[in-house]
């Protein structure tokens, strides 16, 4: 390993040169685009602040989903491709409760209790889906060759997605709005809506809770031990299967909560809603260094802000029409670039390549 490393430094391969030229080109486009946009002064500072706040809101949702990816990767060294469906299943199911509350007027009478119940149902459903996927699709394949669980995960993802399509239908469901969350706070240039505050505060609280759980409790310690070395942890008397299920429960609960927050921000749910946020949250997890819990939080925020500011900042100045359409392309490009140039992520924690 060491030998090849040094050899690569000495001998620059043409493919590496190609990659670095592409990288340099992208940096060039980003820098020139940003300078062009800012020098044109087309957008006021207020517009940028709005975009930034929206980016943080979106980013905290991504962080919550990313935690599920990162915890499972940390322990099983596999991408839980079906996590985006775990995220979708919760709010999609809780929609019916929210709708019923809204019709009976309960939602606006006591929004706090109603929201708590909606969150509880969403998180419960997501946890159930996550645990079932783990039990049926992943556990029997724990010692299979490396591609096998990934393929199962893809299959499980599509199965769950289309199962919910069959159960609840293909229509886009409009999440009821809550009167109490309609206003906004204005602080000079800052304009923050109540929903954005709710999202950011709730996400921060849950992440703090998770951090404390992982760092301070016995189970959290066992989780870290299993992530470090599964077989040694088993020898120390840790029930690895239980810890893995706990991980899926935690990831599912966070995803279910993130789903309700997402539904509150975008006011709609449908069976395909998990895919794009799922991929982006995975990007966030990779950005922060997969397997690294604070990294996922940071990566999510970073991605949210880049996605929110990026189209205007990088592309508008270059005279590209309708740059907002390319926001997903920016997120995907970021994913590709991170995996190519810095697969260890921002907070770089080296994870061993899983061998067959």
């Amino acid at each position: 390993m060491v030998a090849t490393r040094t050899k690569r430094v000495i001998r620059l391969e043409p493919t590496d040169v190609f990659i670095y030229i592409i990288g340099a080109l992208i940096v060039f486009v980003v820098v020139v685009g940003s300078i062009a946009t800012l020098s044109q002064g087309k957008y006021s500072i207020n517009a940028w602040v709005d975009l930034f706040v929206f980016g943080v809101t979106l980013g905290s949702i991504y962080s919550l989903i990313a935690l599920g990816y990162t915890m499972v990767y940390g322990i099983l060294r596999m991408i839980n491709f079906a996590h985006s469906e775990v995220f979708m299943s919760g709010p999609f199911t809780a929609y019916f409760l929210a709708e019923a509350f809204s019709r009976s007027g309960f939602l606006n009478q006591s929004p706090v209790i109603a929201l708590i119940l909606i969150f509880a149902l969403s998180m419960g459903t997501s946890v159930l889906v996550a645990v079932l996927i783990e039990r049926i699709a992943y556990r029997p394949l724990r010692n299979a060759p490396r591609l096998v669980p990934l393929i199962t995960a893809i299959g499980a993802s599509f199965f769950v997605q289309y199962m919910f399509r069959g159960l609840y239908g293909t229509n886009i469901k409009v999440y009821p709005e809550i009167e109490a969350l309609k206003g906004q706070i204005t602080l000079g240039a800052f304009r923050v809506s109540y929903i954005q505050i709710l999202v950011i505060v709730a996400a921060a609280a849950m992440m703090l809770g998770l951090h404390l759980f992982v760092q301070k409790t016995r189970t959290g310690k066992a989780m870290r031990a299993v992530a470090e070395d599964r077989s040694t942890a088993a020898l120390m008397g840790i029930n690895v299967d239980n810890i893995i299920v706990t991980t899926f429960i935690l990831g599912g609960a966070l995803a279910g909560a993130a789903g309700v927050l997402y539904a509150l921000v975008f006011t709609q749910v449908h069976f395909f809603m998990g895919f794009i946020p799922g991929i982006k949250a995975f990007t966030a997890a990779v950005l922060g260094g997969i397997g690294n819990i604070p990294g996922a939080m940071l990566g999510g925020l970073f991605l949210g802000v880049i996605e929110s500011l990026g189209p205007m900042l990088f592309l508008d100045g270059l005279g590209i029409t309708a740059p907002y359409q390319l926001k997903d392309a920016i997120a995907f490009s970021l994913l590709v670039l991170v995996l190519i140039f810095r697969p260890t992520g921002i907070l770089g924690e080296r994870i061993r390549e899983k061998k067959a």
């Binding site: 493919t15 893809i154 299959g155 599509f158 609840y168 991929i279 309708a322 740059p323 899983k354």
Partner: protein
């Protein structure tokens, strides 16, 4: 996992293990019940109830209801075939069947009592209740379902007790009858084209479902054939093997020519509708053979394979279109544009391949997925609209033609695709056992070891990506000229997933497997309209089940099968070693 080991460890205490077997039956019946309720709520029972299998006797929907009870009984008694008492096995099957039908009955009662549940579960309709009571009204139908479910479970238990030859033959007979019943309206249309076959068709088929006598005949024929084959099959195979080489070669050649004639005549025999299906299957065969090189031979999991399909389609679209809205619309002929489409697809394979050279396994899957989505988003954007047509796509793509012969309809396009598939099969076959194929296989097993053995990973990987891309490019080119108009949203992730499913379910690395996979996964859902809504659901389930039960695929490649079984043997060996160690330790302490 625990039950077989305990029963192995204590073979004498059958009485002690018997309650656990009953508990298992109960558990399996419960799982089967939950699955059956899910299937009902997803809407499959109702959707499939329109398809008659046997006219006036049974529909596919009813078959799902009673089949679920049968399957529960079957799995509940599968491991218990060595049990000494027949009544016990049948009883266990009946218990599992009863459990499963109880769940369906409870569902019917619940939906009947709470009709508003339909605002949540859109398929919990009165029609479903009627199906779940077997059309007999509320209390009588519920009882009937329970009785039928119990009987089905008992029947499954009984099936475990008959000799294996008949056991297998019966199952095959039922499956073939159901399959022919499902296909019946298509087969009937084909038969009606030939006036000589019309009486045969009238015997087997009615206008809606198999005729009862026809169904019985098919069932009996399938059983007789299977029983005879299981007794004589080995001798026939041995006879063929013992033929002198010259004759064997002649036999092979004859088979190839025969197959070729059938393939050439196929679109005109089966008619327009089937030809359309064949064209779609052919496109996926072509793509799947390409992806098979990337995933199956070289072991590089590519989830963005649709990108090359899109590139091939867009190149043909742009170069041949006569549309005014596209700046660079070339107005070329298909044949002039095709080499460019393939070349650009290959180039794209290399360009997208280079950055991912050092990325392995699951990361590779995600990066390629990202690439595929980026290409689609770019094609869809207003930014590139003058060049690529934005979300309105590229219109006015001409059909390919050789002189006066135009590949206009599916029956003509079929030949274009057949030619593409034949080339792809030839390339795959030649590459598979070549030096290059071995290099891919070595790389698939272990990149580091392959590199140590002197394989140039850069060239090997890029070649796999490029050849795979070229085949997808051809498929895309044919797709574009087939539809005459292409939209960016035709090239979404689902195509990549579908092609991947074809390769994996068919058997990674296996060429006949991939073709079979495309026939099953692309052909069947197109033939059965009811299935099209549940296509991706069933693919997802099939991918999971395949990985759990038969990871080598339907028609496995030899090397891969050997490998997977070796791994199993190793696992069982190491388990055994661990067991032995444990025993030794116990012996030492005790």
């Amino acid at each position: 996992m625990t039950t077989p080991t305990t029963s192995l460890a204590q073979p004498t205490t059958t009485l002690a293990t018997a309650p656990s077997a009953w508990r298992d039956a109960l558990r399996i019946g419960l799982i089967g019940g939950v699955c059956a309720v899910l299937v009902a709520l997803i809407g499959m029972i109702e959707a499939f109830s329109n398809r008659n299998i046997i006219a006036g006797v049974i529909t596919l929907g009813t078959l799902l209801i009673i089949g679920s009870a049968f399957l529960s009984g079957y799995f509940a008694t599968r491991s218990a075939s060595d049990s000494p008492r027949a009544a016990e096995v049948i009883g266990r099957g009946a218990l599992a069947g009863l459990m499963t039908s109880l769940f369906l009955t409870l569902l019917a009662l619940f939906v009947n009592a709470v009709p508003t549940i339909r605002s949540m579960f859109i398929n919990a309709s009165p029609a479903l209740v009627q199906l779940l009571t077997l059309g007999q009204g509320m209390p009588a139908g519920n009882l009937l379902l329970l009785v039928v479910g119990t009987m089905m479970g008992a029947l499954a238990g009984l099936l475990q007790l008959v000799p294996p030859v008949f056991h297998r033959s019966l199952i095959i007979g039922v499956v073939i009858t159901i399959l022919i019943g499902m296909m019946q309206d298509l087969l009937r249309v084909t038969f009606q084209n030939w006036s000589a076959l019309r009486p045969v068709s009238n015997f087997f088929f009615t206008s809606n479902g198999l005729a009862p006598a026809g169904a019985a005949t098919i069932f009996a024929l399938a059983i007789v054939f299977n029983v005879v084959w299981s007794q004589r099959g080995d001798r026939v195979r041995a006879g063929i093997r013992s033929l002198p080489p010259a004759q064997r070669r002649a036999l092979n050649l004859g088979l190839v020519i025969f197959g070729g004639i059938i393939l050439l005549a196929l679109p005109w025999v089966v008619g327009l509708f089937f030809s359309e299906v064949l064209v779609n299957v052919g496109l996926f065969v072509l793509m799947a053979l390409g992806l098979n090189i990337v995933v199956g031979f070289a072991g590089l999991l590519d989830l963005g394979y649709v990108a090359f399909y899109a590139i091939g389609a867009y190149m043909i679209g742009l170069l041949t279109s006569t549309s005014k809205e596209i700046v660079f619309a070339g107005g070329w002929s298909f044949w002039a544009a095709l080499p460019f489409a393939i070349a650009v697809a290959i180039l794209a394979g290399a360009i997208l391949g280079i950055p991912v050279l050092k990325i392995r396994g699951d990361y590779l899957a995600i990066v390629t997925l990202g690439f595929g989505e980026i290409i689609r988003l770019l094609a869809q954007s207003d930014f590139l609209k003058p060049v690529l047509g934005g979300s309105r796509g590229v219109e006015l793509i001409p059909k390919p033609a050789i002189g006066p012969f135009e590949f206009a309809g599916p029956q003509e396009l079929y030949y274009l695709i057949l030619a593409g598939c034949v080339i792809a099969v030839f390339v795959s076959l030649r590459l598979k056992d070549s030096r290059q194929g071995r290099a891919w296989m070595a790389m698939r097993e272990d990149e580091d070891v392959a590199q140590t053995m002197g394989i140039n990973l850069v060239n090997t990987k890029l070649l796999a990506f490029m050849i795979g891309a070229s085949l997808a490019g051809i498929a895309g080119a044919i797709f574009a000229s087939k539809l005459a108009i292409i939209y960016p949203h035709s090239f979404n992730l689902l195509i990549s997933i579908l092609v991947l499913a074809v390769v994996i379910i068919g058997g990674m690395g296996s060429i006949p497997g991939v073709i079979l996979g495309a026939l099953v996964l692309v052909g069947l859902p197109e033939l059965l309209r009811e299935f099209s809504d549940y296509r991706l659901l069933l693919y997802g389930a099939a991918l999971v089940l395949m990985m759990l039960v038969r990871p080598e695929g339907l028609w496995p490649e030899e090397a891969r099968q050997r490998e997977l079984h070796e791994a199993e043997e190793e696992v069982s060996l190491s388990e055994k070693l661990a067991d032995d160690e444990e025993l030794a330790r116990e012996g030492a302490t005790g």
